[in-house]
Symmetry: C2
Subunit: 170 residues, 2 copies
DNA sequence: TTTAACTTTCAAAATATACTGAAAGTTTAA
DNA sequence: TTAAACTTTCAGTATATTTTGAAAGTTAAA
């Protein structure tokens, strides 16, 4: 027995929403994104509200956020007042865009604080200080490695990036 | 003017808590973890409650979760009833542990659903179906690449792993 | 201009998540 | 055993986040 397309879309939207919420992205935002990802045509606010049973206000704010993340764009059509919303379907672009934004919004500010805390001086005989200093500098190094890797990813082509990763298995 | 150790610790705990909450980890849990990371000695529930101004119940649940994530362990001392809690200070172990758990809890279930949805058959002339199928299979491929990379990371030594990544820059 | 179509805003309500604290449970030393 | 020392549980409360919907704002065709 095979799954209906409509049912499959619904499952996809739910799964994407759940994953998003587990990773600090608002569930509705992830669901709207998922809906647009499986829509060949751009959708209106009205259609999105309908498909996901959400309010106009919620749809509007969520779409604005998605545009802010660089994942969705507005389209307008000649002779129509309505705005249409369309999602970039290129998965690698999506991944890069999300990596880019989260790096900027969350990782970079933390690295700034870690740099500052790494510089805190103290008594080299004090275990309290030594433990603090070691943990902070180690985490700082790790965070910078992640940062550099994300930077590479953001600038990279998909095939090259995963190709290089795959070489690590050899 | 240099920062006090106590103030620096506080900043670290706050920064770690904020980062955690942005990445789907409970703020208190991240803060308890941070507190233990900068403590040379294992701490009691009482000391943790005091340091972070949290209740006994909260401390207990949070510590249990941290143990479940493999980031903290209980210690007991001869002749004492109290339990002491100690965090692994090896940053690479921490990163691997977090990667391992999130992969198991969140990524793997999504890949399972994507595998299922990738198999949904439909009309090759229907743009609705084609768009759905392309998005789902593309995301599935990406998720599997991430999965494989995390697997490599989990099994790897830090120097080898970042060394291989660094080679990507050359 | 007007006005209808459409978008945006935001205070209030709903929901989801996290926390408290006291009571119940457990353990171990005596 | 007892009982003090300690841990765990969980119903109720508090807090944080998300959502609603109606009013205000904007736009463009007539």
């Amino acid at each position: 027995m095979s799954m209906e397309l409509a049912e499959a879309k619904q499952k996809f939207i739910e799964a994407w929403g759940k994953l998003g919420s587990e990773w600090g992205i608002n569930r509705t935002m992830a669901q709207v994104h998922a809906l647009l990802l499986v829509s060949p045509e751009a959708l209106t606010t009205e259609e999105i509200m309908d498909a996901l049973s959400i309010s106009r206000g919620n749809a509007n704010m969520t779409l604005r956020d998605l545009i802010g993340w660089g994942l969705v764009e507005k389209q307008h059509r000649a002779g129509e007042r309505k705005e249409y919303f369309f999602a970039d379907k290129d998965t690698w672009n999506i991944a890069k865009q999300v990596a880019k934004e989260r790096r900027k919004r969350e990782l970079d500010p933390v690295i700034k604080i870690l740099d500052e805390l790494s510089g805190v001086k103290g008594d080299a005989k004090d275990p309290e200080y030594l433990t603090f200093h070691k943990s902070v500098t180690d985490i700082n190094k790790l965070a910078k490695n992640v940062d550099k890797t994300l930077d590479t990813m953001i600038k990279a082509e998909e095939n090259w990036f995963w190709g290089s990763i795959v070489k690590m298995f050899r």
